[in-house]
């Protein structure tokens, strides 16, 4: 996420939003140009980070090189919303042109400004949530997410932009597997040798789907009864999740993947991300994704503008291809 190619000279304007630190109150780093085009992403981030009333949200603007009136009004609206709900929006380290525009507009007096002497916009913590709503993000290397911000799977979560072989994929988050797995998964789902089930989220489909999955993997070499049952269970769980949270059509892919079987379940709701349900009385177990986690070796998701794929790998992943994260 810490990219070295800072826009210079004739480079097109770029804008990055990074969020981290859920425990005490999130910090949002802005880099690049905040204008009409990029404002939507800041709006989303502010909306989400300010959703818990009474929190302190820090908006680090040290890396911001330009802000137009739309961007500034978003910050002001965020400040008003935070303070009206007993929270704070701290604008940290405005530099150069940003400081001047805040000064001229009188906003230096309105907003809560914090100046730290050794501000460094590239000084990001190890655990990050990278916001990738826009295509223009230039995230080429996987980033470790703060797993607190993703519903608590207590697993390291990697996020990478997928741009090779699956151009419409925006993000891939990988739970408990190696950093490059998400990208390879997306490529595999896009490639040859994929067995695909097209269906919808009606009750019949769920039964048909299990039968189909069982038949597909039954003849595969190296797939024993145990692996076969696990695959059918995962397919069913993921499809049931679609039925419940993202009704409509679904696609189920089964593909060989490093000696394991890759299950991908694609639906039409990119923004509904998997979550763990509330705990049942006195039990640590919380539902379908816990089941999936128990029987698969890695799982994650790929989101695209109009679809998302939740995937899992079942079986033994070949040695040396993924780095086991703990």
């Amino acid at each position: 996420m810490i990219d070295d190619d800072e826009p210079v000279g004739t480079e097109p304007p770029a804008f990055d939003v990074t969020v981290a630190g859920a425990r005490t109150g999130p910090t949002v780093w802005l880099r690049g140009e905040l204008d009409l085009h990029s404002a939507g992403r800041l709006r989303t981030v502010l909306h989400d980070t300010l959703a818990d009333p009474g929190r302190t949200v820090t908006l680090d603007v040290a890396g911001l090189t330009y802000a137009d009136s739309v961007g500034l009004s978003l910050i002001v609206a965020g400040h008003r919303r935070a303070t009206s709900e007993g929270g704070r929006l701290v604008v940290r380290d405005p530099q150069g042109p940003i400081r001047r525009v805040l000064d001229v507009s009188g906003l230096l007096e309105v907003l809560e400004i914090e100046d730290t002497s050794d501000a460094d916009p590239s000084d990001l913590p190890d655990h990050l949530l990278v916001w990738l709503n826009g295509f223009e993000d230039r995230v080429d290397s996987p980033v470790l997410l703060d797993d607190e911000l993703v519903p608590d799977f207590s697993l390291p979560v990697w996020l990478a932009r997928v741009h090779d072989g699956y151009p419409d994929a925006v993000t891939a988050a990988v739970f408990g597997a190696g950093a490059d797995t998400g990208e390879r998964v997306a490529r595999t789902l896009h490639g040859h040798g994929v067995r695909r089930f097209r269906g919808d989220t009606t009750p019949t489909s769920l039964v048909d789907l299990r039968r189909w999955a069982d038949a597909v993997v039954a003849g595969e070499p190296g797939v024993d009864v145990d692996v076969r049952e696990r695959i059918v269970l995962v397919v069913s769980e993921l499809a049931a999740n679609v039925e419940r949270h993202a009704p409509g059509w679904l696609l189920v892919d089964l593909a060989p993947f490093d000696g394991a079987v890759l299950v991908g379940v694609t639906d039409s709701r990119p923004v509904v991300l998997p979550r763990r349900p509330e705990q049942a009385a006195g039990l640590a177990w919380r539902g379908g994704l816990d089941v999936v986690r128990s029987v698969c070796d890695g799982f994650g998701l790929v989101t695209r503008p109009r679809t998302k794929t939740v995937w899992a790998t079942i079986g033994t992943i070949g040695a040396g291809t993924t780095e086991e994260a703990t």
Partner: protein, 100 residues
């Protein structure tokens, strides 16, 4: 997994399940449990011998059969291979009385 239709049969405090207990069929189990509880039975027995498949929604129904406080006596009788497997995977077997 089976081609058979899912069925629930209630016999006193015993609920016999047959077929795939999944997201679509689990509500039928919920209804049956409610019926048994309302009839004044002190415990609920789930006969799982002929259950061919159980998913997390099915597990949830079993968990919920224990009541809101989790203190109702629920016996899982003769779990089939599929049922035993998922109870083991999820570690939920420890929370039920299992009669083999």
């Amino acid at each position: 997994m089976t081609d058979e239709e899912f069925t629930v049969e209630v016999e006193g405090e015993v609920i016999h399940l047959r077929g795939d207990l999944d997201a679509n069929t689990a509500p039928l189990l919920d209804d049956a449990v409610r019926g048994v509880v309302e009839s004044g039975a002190e415990r609920v027995v789930l006969d799982l011998a002929e259950v061919a498949f159980v998913d997390s929604r099915g597990l949830r129904s079993m968990v919920q059969a224990r009541g809101p406080a989790g203190d109702r006596d629920v016996v899982l009788r003769s779990p089939s291979r599929a049922a035993a497997r998922i109870l083991e995977i999820t570690g939920l077997e420890a929370h039920f009385r299992i009669e083999t």
